[in-house]
C-alpha cells in the first residue's frame, strides 16, 4: 500500500467489524508520527504512517499505564519491524502485530487500515 506522499484526496479508513470507518485525510498523518481517532464504539485507535507510506493502526491505550497515549509516541524500526515507543515509560509495540517488544506477555489490539 505504498502511496505517493503528495496524494491529497485520500481518506484513511479503519475497519471496525464489517464496516470501514472513515477517519481523516491522509495528509493529517505526518510520516513518523501518529494521531488518535475516536471510533463509533467508543474505542480509541492510534494511526501511524511510515516513511515509505505504509499505514498502521493499533489500540491507542498504553496497557502499562492505562492512558490513551500510544499515538503520541516516537516510531522507528527494530530489526526490520516497525514500532512505536510509548511516551509514558517507553515500552515499544510492533505496529503490525501489536506485540510489545519489551514484554512478551503484553500485546495491544491492531486494526485493518487503508487509504482510499
Amino acid at each position: 500500500m505504498t502511496l505517493a506522499p503528495e496524494t491529497t484526496d485520500l481518506k484513511i479508513q479503519v475497519r471496525l467489524d464489517e464496516d470501514w470507518v472513515t477517519v481523516c485525510d491522509l495528509t493529517r498523518l505526518l510520516p513518523g508520527r501518529g494521531v488518535a481517532a475516536l471510533l463509533p464504539d467508543g474505542g480509541q485507535v492510534a494511526l501511524f504512517r511510515d516513511r515509505a507510506g505504509q499505514l498502521y493502526a493499533i489500540d491507542n491505550r498504553d496497557p502499562f499505564g492505562g492512558a490513551a497515549v500510544l499515538s503520541r509516541g516516537l516510531t522507528g524500526t527494530h530489526q526490520g519491524r516497525p514500532f512505536v515507543a510509548s511516551p509514558l515509560l517507553k515500552q515499544r509495540f510492533d505496529l503490525e502485530t501489536g506485540q510489545c517488544l519489551d514484554d512478551e506477555a503484553v500485546r495491544v489490539a491492531t486494526y485493518e487500515v487503508r487509504a482510499s
Binding site: 513518523g32 508520527r33 488518535a36 516516537l74 524500526t77 530489526q79 511516551p87 517507553k90 489490539a109
Partner: protein, 867 residues
Amino acid sequence: MTATPEATEATPTIVLVGHGMVGQRFLEALAERGLTATHRVVVLCEEPRPAYDRVALTSYFSGRTAEDLSMTDMEFIETHGIELYVGDPAVSVDREAKKVTARSGQVFDYDTLVLATGSFPFVPPVPNKDAEGCFVYRTIEDLLAIEEYAKTATTGAVVGGGLLGLEAAGALKGLGLTSHIVEFAPRLMPVQVDEGGGAALLRTIEDMGLSVHTGVGTQEIVTDSEGAVTGMKLSDGSELATDLVVFSAGVRPRDQLARDCGLTVGERGGITVDEQCRTVADPHVFAIGECALAADGRVYGLVAPGYEQAETAAATIASDEAAFVGADLSTKLKLLGVDVASFGDAHGATEDCLDVVYSDSRAGLYKKLVIGRDGTLLGGILVGDAEAYGTLKAFTGSVPPVSPESLVLPAGAGAPAQIGPAALPDDAIICSCNNVRKGTIRGAVTEHNCTTVPEVKKCTKAGTTCGSCVKVLGQLVTAELEASGVEVDKGLCGCFAQTREELYEIVLALRVNTYQDLLDRYGRDGARGGDGCEICKPAVGSIIASLAPTIGASGYVLDGEQAALQDSNDHFLANIQKNGSYSVVPRIAGGEITPEGLIVIGEIARDFGLYTKITGGQRIDMFGARVEQLPLIWARLVDAGFESGHAYGKSLRTVKSCVGQTWCRYGVQDSVRMAIDLELRYRGLRSPHKLKSAVSGCQRECAEAQSKDFGVIATAGGWNLYVGGNGGATPRHADLLAQDLSDAELIRLIDRFLMFYIRTADRLERTSVWLERIPGGLDHVRDVVVEDSLGICEELESLMAAHVANYRDEWAETINDPEKLARFVSFVNAPDTPDPVVGFVPERDQIKPDLPLLTIGSRPLEGSAQR
C-alpha cells in the same frame, strides 16, 4: 571448601586480630590457598562492622554509604567457615599457652596468630586536644561524628598537611565549612613532593578556597567555658578561630597488644617481623599491614605493601616460599580537583640521578621526573596534571621508549610524544595496590573473556582499591579487545555506527540538515532508507536544533521533518503526565516574577482548573491540561508576556538565583540580574541532556550553584564559575573552572563551555558525567575553553552567538500557525471531544488525576477487529 572444620585437636587454628583492609586480604589469601578448609579460622574485629575500604573513606562524604565501602562479602565468610566476631577486640595474648582473650571474655587457642591491627592516628600532645570538637580521621565512626558536629559549625581546621590532611580538609569544605590546613613543615605533602611541587600544590589548594598555614605548629586548642573548641593557638603567636579540629598528623602502629605479650617492637613502634612477616620473637605469630615493622626497617602506611604482606604471610603458613622485602611508595591524591602524584624515587635519592623539570606556577603545574644515568626512569612528582601517572609509574625502573622531556611537556608545547600503555612490557605493574601486572590484565581479556573494565576488575582485582589505575586499565582493555579482533561498538544505536559526537561533527562540517539525509548517507547498512529509532531520532533532532542557524535548518523544532524527530514531550511542547494530560511551565527567568505575572498565572490556572505547584526550579508548574487546552492556555500566557520554559526539552531549564546584593546584607554582586541574563541568553538551547544553572550572590550559596551544570558564585572581584555539578540520583559537586571573572569574561567562558559540551557529549549525558568521562577531565576542558588549546574557541563563540540571535519562542510561533495547532487535539476525527480517560478528582482544594478512569478502554483483545 565449604565445610566448617571442627575445632578438634587435629584442626589447627589461625586467629587473626584486626579485620581491616589487610586482614581481609589475608583471609582471601588463606581461602585461595585452601587453608580455610584445613584450618579453623577465627577473626577478632574491633570495629562495629567488618572490613571496609578505608582508602575510599572520604568518598563517604560524596555519597557512598557504609555498605558501598564494605569489602566483606558475608557469603565469602560463610562459605569458608570463618568465625568472625564483630565488635569484639583482642585484649590479651598468652604466648606460652597460645591463647588470645577477647573483650567479651571468650578465649581462643591458636596455632598461628596473625596481628593486623593497623595504626592509630597520632594526636600531638597539645593542651585541650581532647576538647569537644576535636576529631581524628580514620574510621567510618570518625566520619559520622565529624559530619554530625559540622552541622553546627562554620569553620574547620585540619592539623597536618599531608596526604590525609588534605583529604580531610577537602571533606570539611565539602561539608560546607570554611577550611584551614595547618602544617608544621614549610610545604604541603612534605613526604611526597619537593619544594617546587609544594608551591604548585599550594596554589591549587588555595584556589579551591582552602586556607593554608605552613611552617607553623599548633600550640594549644582554645575552648569556651563549656569546653568546646573555639580556635587554636599557633606557634607564630597568631590565633585561628575554628569550631572544629581534625588531627591528621600522621599515624602510629597499633602494637600495644604485641608489647604486652613481650613481642619485639621497633624503636619508633611497629611489630618487628622478618621477610616472611613472622615476628622475630615468636615463629607462631605474624604481623602484617600498618602495625608491622617490615624486614627492610620500614613501617608502611599504604595499603599495597600491606596486601603484599598478607599474601606473604598466607603463603608462609601454607609452607610456600614467599618474602616481603620492601615496596613502592607511589601515591596519588584522591582529592577532587587536585592532581598530585608521586612515584618511585620522587626526591632523587639515588646516587648520580638527574632531573627533568617542567614548571608553570601560573597554571599551577609542576612535573619532575628523576632519571638515572643510563636513562632509567626512577620516579617523579606530578602536580596540577597527573594524567600520565599510571603510565609513568608502570615505566618506573625501565628506560621509557621516548625522551623524558616529551613526557612532562604539556600538550601543544613542542611535539609531545604520547606513550600509551601499549608500549609497556607485560611485567609492568599496572595496579600497584593489588600488584597486578599488565600481562595479567591482558590475560583477563584473552583467556578469561572479560570484555569490560568491571569484568576485568572482578577477575584480576586490579583497580578495586584506590582506583588511580582504572584509566590505564580501560585503555588496556580496549587495546586488547581491538587486538584480538573484537569490535567495540561505540555506535549511537542500531541505526548509526557513529557516536553522538561524530554525528555532530558530520552535521556541522557537511551541513547535513535533515535526519533522513543523515540516515541515508551515514547510517548503518541495514538502517539506511528506514525509519530510524527512538534513540537516534531525538538525538539527531537535538543536534540539528542546536546547530540550526549555522547549518541552514529551521530553528523551530516543529518545522517539517523535525516535528517527527522530537521526543513526545517536545512535540507537544509540554510534559506528559500519567493520565495523558500535560503540565505547563512558563519561563520565570531567575525566579523573578511580578505580582501581575503571578496574578495572570493564578487566573489561568483557576480558569482552566489546573493544579498549581511551586517547583524545585523556582517557578510555577500548572498540571492537568488536556492536549486541546494547551494552545488556549498558551495564547493567554504569551499574551501576558510569558514564553516557553522548556520544561519538556533537553535544553536549558532554569537559572536559579538568590536575592543577592540588592537586598541581602551579605551579597557582593547582583545575582538576580546575572541569573536573568544567563537564562535569557541560553533559553531554548538544545543540548545532549538538560542544562541547569544558578547564581549566588555570595559564598553562602543560597542558590545552590555548585549543584548545577554551570553555577556562578559572586565574589568581591566578580564571579567564580563552577561546572559539572548535578543533583538528582548521582549528585556531584561542581568543579571550579575559573575565578573572579568580569561579566563579559563569565559569559564568554560559559558560551565556550556549553558549546564544547554540546559538541562532545554523548546522548543523555549530563555535564557531570561528561566531565568525568572525557579524557583529561576538567583539566582538558579548562585547556580547551580557557586556554583555547584546540584553537576552536572562536568557532564555539560564534555558534553560540548564532543561537542567541536566532532564538524565537516556540509557543508564540505555534499558536500563530494554524497547521501546527491542528495537531493539538485528542482525536483527529473529533477535535472537540476530550479524551474520556483524562479526568480529575479533588484533593486538598485542587485536582489530581482520576486513576480508576485509566482502566477504561482496557478491553480484551478479541473485542476488536484483528488483522
